[in-house]
């Protein structure tokens, strides 16, 4: 299972990077979103996988031993929400960028440097 998910994570990172290297600014943002997905998944997978035992206390004996690790889940939740905030900002930035510069071509960013 680990190998499969590792491959998946690799593909997601790869796609994200590829999108980031495009000229279209929208693909850039898409790449950022993908990077976020890949990373969330990485956090989840790298810290060990437990099937079928969500981290809820149900008054059962010895349940904590088999329970999935809640910490990475909490971290991912935090990362997701942060990602949402930053991505939302990036989206508005792209919107403003287009309305001010009139282009979505990133190569046109090169002027003036």
């Amino acid at each position: 299972m680990l190998l499969l998910l590792a491959v998946l994570i690799g593909v997601l990172y790869g796609s994200a990077v590829y999108l980031l290297l495009r000229r279209n600014i929208f693909k850039l943002v898409l790449g950022l979103i993908f990077l976020g997905y890949a990373t969330n998944l990485l956090l989840f997978v790298a810290s060990g996988l437990t099937s079928g035992y969500p981290a809820f206390i149900r008054n059962l004996e010895g349940e904590t031993a088999t329970m999935s690790d809640p910490l990475p889940q909490a971290l991912i939740l935090t990362a997701i929400v942060i990602g949402l905030g930053v991505t939302a900002f990036a989206l508005v930035l792209v919107y403003r960028f287009y309305s001010v510069t009139g282009t979505v071509d990133l190569d046109e960013l090169s002027e003036n440097e």
């Binding site: 590829y18 989840f44 079928g52 149900r58 939740l77 997701i80």
Partner: protein
């Protein structure tokens, strides 16, 4: 009074000068001079103690952790220099107070001069290498500000920059040298270092330290091949040339060499380097001075030559040589200070310093003519001026040099002959002969302008007349500090008939001969210069700076090219190289491939996500990419569910949907996009992307297969309900165990919200 206080007072004065100058008006110069005069009095009072061979030290704690102190160390050599600096300095202040009257920003100018004085004094009385270095650099900076006084002229800026960069370069080397020198001692205190040369001599650091220190000294003292900044610095007003660029600052390098002679000196490499560079500089300075016509440039090149002589003498290191060095230092300071001030006076009176446009000034400026001629007599080394004593000693020292004796002697002979030639020229061509036309009628300058030259030249005369009584004790106390093993040789005007006298006579004759046939000499040396030295060093410097700028500009546009995606590509490419190196350095992962634990449905979900990701990448349609993004989100939340992440899956779905909505809302405004990259670029990007993806994959495998310690989360599981009263452990972590994370996270959210609000708000403003 002590040295620290004196320097402090000078610094204070330099700070106050810009604010007080305009109120004090013409009195400013003399009033400011009170401080150095007080200093002179203090040192003169200390003189008896020093003459007994004692050393006065002061020390103030500065950076105690590293044992760096603000120490002062006043020995015979130091006090000699101090008197010179303060004495000439006082006269320069008086001189400058008058000289600068027609110019703007006099206050700042005076301030810089005094700042320089403080710094220079600091160098010579420093008892700690770091202290000395601080003052050393201060002289460079004040020199920069002074050379650039006429900063609206491009050549002044260039000259100032040139001087600063050359001495700055040397300063940096010196810093390295000092630090290295201090290493074997564990301290920078001169008293410790000077007491015992052994630690550094036996260290491998000796050679690097020596070379670095020599770089510092040579640049400051305008040794070949760093000499060219000094003639350039002549764009500065004459008080500056007189004070910094002849009498004092340029001597700092020589001072340093002499100061460190007991520790660094007397080794093979020391002799070779110093005598070689000293000789070359001496001859070269003399040679280039021949063809100059600008009064100050002539003096500048002779200064270069004199500095070469001093370095040569210190490098020679014999008893006579050290004696000669000390005497010549004094001699040179006295006559060169005078000459520069006089050059300034002549320019002031006639409006030019071109000697071909000067002549017959004796009638209008008799006092000036006498003073200047006397100084020139000293320069030519003719009795009874002190210059004669100096030149005699030089001949004696060089004739006794341990190596390359005749070559050096020849060089000294040539140099001295040129000095005689120039002395004749500067005195006869300027004050006698045919009178030129001047813009206004010249007259003998004001007292304030003449006070310095007169006193200095008289001092030169006095010391020359009574060398044994006046000059000898000073040399004697200096030589014990510079070269502890040696004693002072007796100084006298008359040595009897010997080789040295013969050389002196020959020198005078040659000098006169050169003057007699000066037209021919000038012609020939001019053509030689044109042929071999057409490219002046300073031009070379300017070209080098331009070339450097051009190079950096090109490099910059190559590196910081502005193409965002290449920035990103560099980041990713380098990152993957680095991470791959780490992976390669680690042990290979042993993977137990167990296909039984791969539920088919999850394989399907993974394949689905991969297909969606690839279609997002390949597709030209952004809508399809967004749909694919949505599909990926669903897939990931299924993976979360498969491995027990309930809250995660819910959040993922919701964020996913909201993200799609937001992205659509943005797309709503964006135009179609039709440019596609070439296949080559795609291949390259694909390669980088797969490198990144692959290393992330390997890292996940590494992390997933190793478990070095028990995770801390067992605590959360135990404490979640019993201590934090929540059954949803993930939520309890978020709002209790790690609430600070969450607080930070909602701050991010709030800040992003505020940012979005601001951007839209400000954009509206522009549209209205």
């Amino acid at each position: 009074m002590n040295s620290g206080l004196l320097i402090g007072l000078l610094l204070l004065l330099s700070f106050l000068a810009p604010f007080t100058r305009r109120y004090l008006n013409n009195l400013a110069g003399p009033l400011y001079a009170i401080v150095p005069v007080a200093g002179i009095i203090y040192y003169l009072r200390a003189l008896p103690v020093i003459l007994k061979g004692e050393v006065i030290t002061e020390s103030y704690k500065w950076i105690p952790v590293y044992d760096i102190n603000l120490s002062f160390y006043i020995d015979g050599f130091g006090i000699l220099f101090s008197l010179l600096i303060l004495g000439i300095g006082a006269f320069i202040l008086i001189y400058a107070g008058k000289y600068m009257v027609p110019y703007p920003m006099k206050g700042r100018f005076m301030g810089y001069l005094i700042l320089f004085m403080a710094a220079m004094l600091g160098i010579v009385v420093s008892g700690n290498l770091i202290t000395m270095f601080v003052f050393w650099e201060l002289t460079s900076i004040s020199s920069y500000l002074l050379i650039g006084y006429h900063h609206e002229k491009p050549e002044a800026r260039t000259a100032a920059l040139q001087a600063l960069l050359i001495t700055g370069f040397g300063g940096l080397a010196l810093l390295g040298g000092f630090v290295l020198l201090g290493l074997p001692y564990g301290t920078y205190e001169l008293s410790t270092i000077l007491a015992d040369p052994e630690p550094i001599r036996s260290s491998v650091l000796y050679l690097p330290a020596l070379i670095l220190i020599l770089l510092g000294a040579f640049t400051k003292s305008a040794q070949f091949p760093f000499h060219f900044w000094l003639p350039g610095a002549m764009t500065a007003p004459s008080p500056v040339s007189a004070f910094l660029h002849s009498a004092t600052m340029v001597k700092a390098g020589v001072f340093l060499l002499a100061r460190l002679n007991p520790v660094m000196g007397d080794t093979q490499i020391w002799h070779i380097l110093l005598t070689t560079f000293g000789t070359v500089t001496m001859v070269m300075g003399a040679w280039f001075s021949i063809t100059q016509t600008d009064l100050k440039k002539i003096l500048a090149y002779t200064t270069v030559s004199a500095l070469g002589t001093l370095v040569l003498l210190i490098g020679t290191g014999t008893q006579y040589a050290i004696n000669a060095a000390i005497i010549f230092l004094l001699v040179h300071a006295l006559y060169k200070g005078t000459l520069f001030m006089m050059a300034g006076n002549i320019e002031k009176m006639t409006g030019t310093r071109d000697i071909t446009k000067l002549g017959g000034l004796f009638k209008e400026m008799p006092v000036a003519a006498i003073v200047m001629s006397l100084a020139l007599v000293s320069m030519a080394g003719i009795p009874p001026m002190l210059g004669f004593v100096g030149k005699e000693l030089i001949y004696e020292a060089t004739s006794l040099a341990p190596t390359s004796r005749y070559l050096i002697l020849l060089a000294a002979f040539f140099t001295n002959s040129v000095l005689v030639f120039l002395s004749l020229r500067l005195s006869l061509d300027v004050f006698w002969g045919k009178r030129s036309d001047y813009q206004k009628k010249p007259f003998d300058p004001y007292v304030a302008l003449m006070a310095g030259p007169v006193v200095l030249v008289l001092l030169s005369l006095l010391l020359g007349l009574f060398p044994a009584n006046l000059a000898a004790p000073l040399t004697a106390m200096a030589i014990t500090s510079v070269s502890p093993g040696h004693v002072a040789v007796g100084l006298k005007l008359w040595h009897g008939f010997n080789l040295v006298l013969l050389l002196s006579a020959l020198t005078l004759f040659t000098g006169y001969f050169m003057y007699r046939y000066k037209r021919m000499i000038l012609e020939h040396s001019g053509s030689i210069n044109l042929r071999y030295f057409a490219r002046e060093f300073s031009n070379g410097f300017v070209a080098a700076v331009d070339g450097f700028l051009h190079f950096t500009k090109k490099q910059t546009s190559r590196i910081q090219h502005g193409y965002h995606r290449f920035y990103l590509m560099t980041v990713f490419a380098v990152a993957s190289v680095l991470v791959w190196v780490m992976i390669w350095r680690a042990d290979p992962i042993i993977l137990e491939l167990n296909f039984a634990d791969m539920p088919l449905n999850l394989v399907a979900v993974v394949v689905l996500i991969i297909a969606a990701a690839l279609s997002a990448v390949i597709s030209h349609s952004r809508v399809i990419a967004l749909v694919a993004m949505g599909v990926i989100g669903f897939g990931i939340s299924i993976i979360f569910i498969a491995f027990s992440g309930v809250d995660l899956a819910i959040t993922m779905i919701m964020v996913e949907v909201l993200m799609v909505i937001l992205a659509m809302a943005v797309l709503y405004h964006l135009p179609k996009y039709a440019k596609y990259s070439e296949s080559g670029a795609r291949m390259r990007d694909g390669l980088v992307a797969s490198l990144v993806g692959a290393f992330m994959m390997v890292l996940v495998l590494q992390a997933g297969t190793t478990q070095m310690s028990e995770p801390i989360s067992s605590f959360f599981k135990e404490a979640s309900y019993s201590e934090a009263f929540g059954r949803n452990v993930v939520n309890v972590i978020l709002v209790d165990f790690r609430a600070l994370d969450t607080l930070g996270e909602i701050s991010v959210i709030a800040i992003a919200a505020l940012g979005i609000f601001s951007m839209i708000k400000l954009s509206k403003r522009k549209e209205i």
